[in-house]
């Protein structure tokens, strides 16, 4: 089975690399932007990481007064994972990407890598994750970068207070990927005022330059679905039956890595379909955010206002409705009206502009603590965005020739760069 895997990887490497081979020494093998985003990094190409490290789950009671609806009975506080050294060491805070928890697979790999390199680590869920909305968001309405950064900062302070008696910390670092990377910039800016951590360095991995533009580009991936995103259910069911048939006639032992590689080696899904699947995954994540926020605020957006959901109630219709709402629906009907109500006179354009790192470029330019990692074929960024990042951060911008969105995050060379950046 291992040989098969290597064979598939070899196929992936060899096919397109012929043209590039001369000028390109970067070893991440998957050429397609969408494919790398879905496949990620093959296990063989990840760094060797320790199987067991000292970790502890932190459950933070950020708002002790807050009453939680009974369907979220399992949510006992903001969950963070803390990996600790037994000696004095620097501490890294890691912020997850859109819709991800503190234990997302990517965060766990980064946590182990930083731990191995001698750092303490605390991972945080994304402010768009249900757990964060329920337990750590002041407004319970995620999407405003400045407010989300304040929520993150508060959570970091509480986490730090909970562990500071047990470990010795020499200095603080901050890192986030995807939306978490964008948020890291805003958290660092807040830290310049609050001065609790004095982050020595801040690393943004595959960040969005503008939240609005990038979300729009992800939404755009679903446009090529026959009938558009409103027919995502038909699309989902069609993709599933393709998957099932491929399995049935392929004589596979189980649904495992080998099978998943085979899907891509055989090009089961076209480029448009792969893009559609990424868009749909984004929607499914977004659905969790929309539903939790709606229940927490009793806004009557997808759940009837004043309805008290019981543990045995079916949520199936809410799931389907939430999945059919786009980022733009959320933005125009829910997020923007809320902030317009709170900040009279706020125009839509002004709000969109505030959701971009350009809104704090004055600060970012003057600070040399930032570093950026990005991929040339990341579909959430435009060519202009990439140029902007290079202009803004200069030498501290590392751009890889491929990797899609986060596909190469766990690749050993990328992990080595992250660690080297903090150790400089």
């Amino acid at each position: 089975m291992m040989y098969l895997k290597i064979f598939f990887i070899a196929c992936l490497v060899l096919l397109p690399a012929q043209g590039l081979a001369a000028e390109d020494t970067y070893g991440y093998p998957i050429p397609g932007s969408y494919e790398s985003t879905i496949i990620g990094t093959p296990a063989k190409l990840m760094p060797e990481l320790p199987a067991n490290i000292n970790t502890r789950q932190l459950v933070l009671d950020v708002f002790p007064e807050r009453k939680k609806p009974s369907i979220f009975f399992y949510d006992e506080g903001l969950r963070c994972t803390f990996a600790y050294q037994d000696h004095k060491a620097p501490l890294v805070f890691l912020i997850a990407g859109t819709g991800s928890s503190d234990r997302s697979a990517k965060l766990m790999v980064m946590m182990k890598a930083f731990y191995q390199a001698g750092f303490h680590v605390i991972t945080l869920p994304s402010p768009t994750h249900a757990n964060f909305i329920i337990s750590a968001s002041q407004s319970r309405i995620p999407g405003d970068l400045t407010e989300d950064a304040a929520d993150l900062y508060r959570a970091m302070e509480i986490a730090w207070n909970q562990v500071r008696g047990d470990v010795e910390v020499s200095s603080f670092y901050l890192c986030g990927y995807s939306l978490g990377g964008t948020q890291a910039a805003f958290v660092a800016k807040l830290d310049e005022e609050r001065r609790i951590f004095n982050f020595r360095k801040v690393l943004m991995i595959d960040p969005a330059v503008s939240l609005y533009t990038s979300s729009g580009r992800i939404e755009g991936l679903m446009k090529k679905i026959p009938g558009g995103p409103k027919k995502e259910g038909i699309f989902f069911n069609k993709m599933l039956s393709k998957f099932s048939e491929f399995y049935r006639y392929g004589n596979y032992v189980a649904i495992n890595d080998e099978f998943l590689y085979a899907i891509y080696a055989d090009k089961l899904y076209s480029s448009e379909e792969t893009a559609g699947l990424i868009g749909l995954t984004f929607r499914i994540n977004l659905a969790g955010m929309i539903f939790s926020s709606d229940v927490m605020t009793n806004s009557g957006y997808v759940v009837p206002k004043n309805r008290v959901l019981k543990i045995t109630d079916s949520l199936s219709d809410y799931f389907l409705v939430s999945c059919h709402l786009s980022f733009f629906d959320y933005f125009n009907e829910y997020l923007f009206p809320y902030f317009q109500m709170r900040r009279p006179g706020l125009t839509k354009q002004a709000f969109i502009d505030s959701l971009s790192i350009k809104s704090i470029e004055g600060y970012l330019k003057t600070s040399d603590k930032f570093g950026v990692m990005a991929n040339e074929n990341d579909f959430i960024l435009t060519g202009e965005d990439l140029k902007y990042l290079q202009q803004l951060f200069g030498k501290r911008t590392k751009i890889y020739p491929r990797g899609g969105h986060l596909g190469n995050l766990e690749y050993k060379e990328n992990i080595a760069y992250m660690i080297a950046f903090f150790k400089q």
Binding site: M1, A51, N52, S70, I71, F72, F73, Y74, D75, R79, S101, R103, P125, H129, A130, N131, K230, K231, E232, G233, I234, F236, N237, L240, S244, Y247, R248, V253, A254, I255, A287, G288, F291, S292, V295, G300, Y301, V302, V303, P304, K305, N306, R307, V308, K310, I311, T312, D313, S314, L315, S316, D317, Y318, F319, L320, V321, H324, L325, D329, E333
Partner: protein, 276 residues
């Protein structure tokens, strides 16, 4: 209900049966208490409901990730029960086990039970008349039981004999039985009506073989030994599963788990060409 559960729990001695049934009664009482408390906490609010901005009627699309689930209310209660069972009993025991046992030993324990599981894989490969697969599984069992020191090690895999997971639920599926409604079992977790029946049959076969061989019949402590072996098996099984109820924090986790369980089972059981 009691019958089903006691059949499923795979106990294997007469004395133990009483104890198991007693334990099950406690569990069932707990479940009832949870179910009733769910009912008692009915809508306390007096505010009138207002229809939401978006509802299912406005979308003209196929539903997706759907699985027949007429007992969703019961299943959701059971899902929650398993969460509490894990939290207050099962997982603390498992972490205690992981804490006191060296990793090397944990792997040997898993190997031992996985090797015993080959008996279930073999009987079901045979029920499905899969000659080559049965030979492979038999080869694995013989190799690992001998060269692998009773299953402690797994040389068979390095000889190219791949493991084929089989059970009676898959056998039923292979011969054309539909999965039936989704069912969340206490402690065992996600299942279906068909797979629950399958689990009962597999347990009965294991019990039958065990009784026939009666490996500890000559010792005076056969009850203590067999209870210990069963308990350790339960701990090892949970130790090998990384799934944690509600860990994703995703509000629709129940549907994700249901969808993945159902489709994985349907795919992996496959269908005999005549049963298509």
């Amino acid at each position: 209900m009691t019958d089903i559960i006691s059949e499923l729990s795979g106990f294997n001695s007469a004395q133990k049966t009483h104890k198991t049934i007693f334990n099950l009664l406690v569990i069932i009482q707990l479940m009832l208490a949870l179910t009733l408390s769910g009912c008692a906490a009915t809508r306390e609010n007096t505010l009138a409901e207002v229809p939401p901005r978006h509802s299912i009627e406005e979308f003209k699309d196929q539903r997706f990730a759907e699985v027949a689930d007429p007992w969703e209310g019961f299943n959701r209660n059971m899902y929650r029960f398993n969460y509490y069972f894990d939290k207050y009993l099962f997982l603390p025991v498992v972490s205690g086990y992981e804490f006191i046992t060296p990793v090397f030993l944990q792997e040997r324990v898993s190997g031992f039970y996985n090797n015993l599981g080959e008996v279930r894989n073999l009987t079901n490969s045979l029920f499905q008349l899969k000659g080559r697969e049965s030979a492979t599984t038999l080869g694995r069992f013989v190799t690992n039981s001998t060269v692998g020191l009773g299953g402690l090690f797994d040389p068979a895999t390095s000889f190219g004999l791949e493991r084929h997971e089989q059970d009676f639920g898959k056998t039923l599926g292979y011969w054309g039985a539909g999965s039936g409604p989704y069912l969340v079992l206490p402690i065992f977790g996600p299942s279906s009506l068909r797979d629950t029946g399958g689990l009962a049959v597999d347990s009965a076969i294991t019990y039958g073989i065990y009784t026939a061989i009666d490996p500890f019949g000559n010792t005076s402590n056969s009850f203590a030994i067999s209870s210990g072996i069963t308990a350790l098996e339960a701990v090892d099984t949970r130790h090998q599963q990384s799934f944690r109820y509600y860990e994703s924090g995703y509000p629709f986790e129940y549907y994700m788990v249901r969808f993945l369980y159902h489709n994985k089972r349907e795919l992996e059981s496959g269908k005999h060409p005549l049963a298509e």
